[in-house]
């Protein structure tokens, strides 16, 4: 199949996206149903063409069509088929195509599930999605064509970056993009709400499940990325505060705020303007992430090869989309603070404080990430902002959130009851302090670890107390609606996550050692015996593989096989061996042979024991599960009631 067909499909998709983006908007404005009806078929057609283009690129990779430049750059004859598929999104052009494909999946889902929405509103939402697609399709067609030819066709291709040849990498980008792009739905709802004006307030309820799902995907994507960095980059770290990581973390933080703000707006009608603003920000930060990763403005280990032309294009797109929406916000955002009143001691207040902290944290991450650029602009010299900065400020900002979190569910909308709160404070507080004291003996009085245990107990007892209260007070069947269960799961996840971070950071033991075969090193409470290294081969690599036998008190625990791989094109890649466990990970990475000619001799190795490191991702997965559970709540399924106002809206817009 000729790759030019793929390009043609993208051009046709662009035309359909234009139709989807413009005609329904005009229709909604003029009250023309025929124009509004264009939205769904155009979206479906666009999705067909984009899927077709994506399929052609996959086909080109599977069939080694090295006449396509992108295929030749990112794969070769030896690359196994599963990595050839992953290679589709292994570099800039293809990953952009994946992004567009995912945008289309969201749009089609939205088109399918919005049948019961008022027609005017639904067509505006779909039109906004169409306009976003126009930008990205134009971007790929004009600056980043994945179907460009390479003539004459080479006999073999280069290679997929070996860092990406890992199961985690096949999985991480699609999930992450699903999250990123998912925020476009909340964004489209907010813009449609702004266009519709004061009439459309119900949109927040319709947007909630979409936001939750997007956020949950983003959480999963970040967890997968973090796990991948831990296992694959071979540094044993799980978060580096690299600009590219921050680019995914900022929309996550804002999305987190948005989820909670939407809850207030939906249930109480308050904070409408703030919810709109956050919807715009969450998606804007996703776009900003794309800009940062692909423009080369910031230096990062993970960035794609940069090209100023692409940077200019995304910046222009960003300016139109975000600038336009913020202008629209300035003109049309609700001016009157609507909604039900609330007192100082109320759930609204706590959620508001949480929102404030998430927003400030996101702003802090943005400031830290961009400050090197500010330094260049103001001629302050080259400045590096890294883990010490973020690692100091972020926990400070999250401290109030953690402290307040157990009280949130106990507080009632509008007004709170203080006796209940005192009880929670007392019970969770005593439990946390008691466990912290016990833990202190086990962790040699390390403060970080004690704080980790205390936070876990504080948060989980809070969750448990609320679960018990519901169990006692509410009849069966209505005790835990999905929305609440999701919240409890996610909040529990926060506790597990914090415990994982603090315990693994304070209790991990690392050592770089030189080991001859037969030698044993004692790390943590484990004995690592090096049993020598030998050569081994894989489908497209050769490796030196070490054998490390781990025992504890003489009992065998694991046999580990860290590798140092050399791929076809000479790239060297460390493959660490990880023995995973609920309470600890053992981690071995192979360095260099002490005598380069003799791989059977002594090697340098890095040995780790990492207690509770898995809880970091476990906590993240619980948060993700919370997001999905929440979105499944029956309350969010559309009832016909929504359509009642449709004709009214139609009349109003005509007038």
């Amino acid at each position: 199949m000729t790759p030019e067909l793929g390009q043609l499909a993208l051009i046709l998709a662009l035309l359909l996206a234009l139709a989807q983006g413009i005609l329904p908007l005009i229709g909604a404005w003029r009250g023309n149903r025929a124009l509004m009806a264009v939205a769904r078929p155009a979206a479906a057609g666009q999705a067909v063409f984009v899927t077709f283009a994506f399929g052609i690129l996959v086909w080109a990779f599977l069939h080694f069509d090295f006449s396509v430049q992108y295929v030749a750059d990112n794969s070769n004859l030896e690359l196994p088929w599963y990595y050839r598929i992953a290679a589709v999104w292994g570099a800039h052009e293809g990953s952009l195509l994946l992004w567009i494909l995912i945008l289309n999946v969201w749009t089609v889902a939205l088109a399918a599930f919005s049948q019961k929405l008022p027609e005017v509103f639904a067509s505006r939402v779909l039109a906004v999605m169409g306009l976003i697609a126009v930008g990205f399709l134009a971007f790929i067609i004009f600056t980043s064509n994945p179907f460009g030819r390479l003539l004459p066709m080479p006999g073999d291709g280069a290679d997929l970056n070996p860092v990406l040849q890992d199961p985690g990498m096949t999985f991480h980008p699609p999930v992450l993009y699903t999250g990123y792009v998912g925020f476009s739905v909340a964004f489209a709802f907010a813009i449609a709400g702004l266009l519709g004006g004061e009439l459309e307030q119900a949109w927040v309820r319709w947007a909630r499940p979409w936001t939750n799902v997007a956020w949950a995907f983003l959480t999963l994507g970040i967890v997968a990325g973090s796990w991948w960095a831990y296992a694959e980059l071979g540094w044993g770290g799980w978060w580096f505060w690299d600009p590219v990581e921050n680019a995914s973390f900022m929309p996550w933080l804002v999305g987190l705020g948005l989820i909670h703000a939407q809850a207030i707006t939906e249930k109480r009608g308050s904070l409408r303007a703030w919810t709109i603003l956050l919807s715009i920000f969450a998606f804007s930060l996703s776009l900003l992430g794309t800009f940062l990763v692909r423009s080369g403005v910031l230096t990062s280990v993970h960035a794609f090869a940069s090209d100023p032309r692409r940077g200019v294009f995304i910046l222009a797109f960003l300016t139109i989309v975000v600038g336009g929406s913020l202008l629209l916000y300035a003109l049309r955002a609700p001016r009157v603070a609507g909604g039900k009143a609330f007192q100082l001691l109320s759930r609204e207040t706590v959620l508001l404080i949480g929102n404030l902290m998430f927003a400030v944290a996101a702003a802090m991450v943005l400031l830290g990430t961009l400050f090197p650029l500010v330094g260049d602009a103001l001629n302050l010299g080259r400045i590096s902002v890294g883990p010490p900065y973020f690692g100091f400020l972020f926990p400070l900002l999250m401290l109030p959130v953690v402290l307040l979190l157990p009280f949130g569910p106990f507080l009632r909308w509008g007004k709170g009851e203080s006796p209940m709160l005192k009880q929670v404070l007392l019970r969770a507080g005593i439990a946390a302090v008691a466990c912290a004291i016990v833990a202190a003996f086990f962790v040699d009085g390390k403060l970080k670890a004690i704080a980790g245990v205390a936070s876990l107990v504080w948060l989980s007892v809070g969750v448990l107390l609320y679960a018990i209260k519901r169990w006692r007070e509410v009849p069966r069947g209505r005790r835990y609606p999905a929305e609440m269960a999701g919240m409890l799961l996610a909040h529990l996840g926060v506790g597990v996550f914090i415990a994982g971070v603090l315990l693994s950071e304070s209790l991990s033991v690392t050592s770089d050692v030189r080991m001859a075969p037969g030698q044993t090193q004692h790390i943590g409470s484990y004995d690592f015996r090096f049993d020598g290294a030998h050569r081994t081969t894989g489908p497209n690599w050769k490796a030196d593989q070490g054998v490390v036998t781990v025992t504890r008190d003489g009992k065998p625990v694991a046999v580990m096989h860290p590798q140092k791989r050399t791929y076809l094109r000479g790239q060297v890649q460390t493959e660490s061996a990880v023995d995973a466990g609920i309470f600890r990970d053992l981690y071995v990475a192979l360095g260099e042979p002490m005598d380069a000619g003799n791989i059977e001799g002594a090697w340098s190795l890095r040995l780790y024991t990492k207690p509770f490191v898995r809880w970091i991702w476990g906590g993240g997965l619980l948060m993700m599960l919370g997001g999905f559970t929440c979105a499944a709540d029956k309350r969010f399924r559309l009832k016909r009631a929504a359509t009642v106002r449709e004709d009214l809206v139609l009349q109003e817009t005509r007038a």
Partner: protein, 141 residues
Amino acid sequence: MVMLVFAGAVHAQAIEPMPFANHAQELRFQHLTQQLRCPMCQNETLADSNAPIARDLRNQIFKLMQQGRSDDEIKQYLVARYSDYILYNPPLKTGTVLLWFGPLLILLGGGGVVLVALRKRKRQGVEATTVGESADNGEDW
């Protein structure tokens, strides 16, 4: 293609056993090199980087430690040669005031807005709380 080869080479790990005087010194070394940036690389710490200059600087830091220099002295040594760029923890100077106190300013500004909103709501609340809970969401939790 050259980029890829380069990137691939970088991700080989920096593993170098060094004859530390004791475990505390090893911990100190790990901690210190994780706060310093490799001047040559895309964005990696001296601890992680496998670039030749990162190796040289790690060795130098090790030597300076054996000479009994403190962490601050070692940082000064590096800054004198490679500028503040090498510090992942940017020192507080006139130029970085915005970086270090910006978040506080945003917090104070945002906190102010929230406070004003809360007080406004409370005043409204006195009149409005009697309106009662409407049944729109059913969920009282």
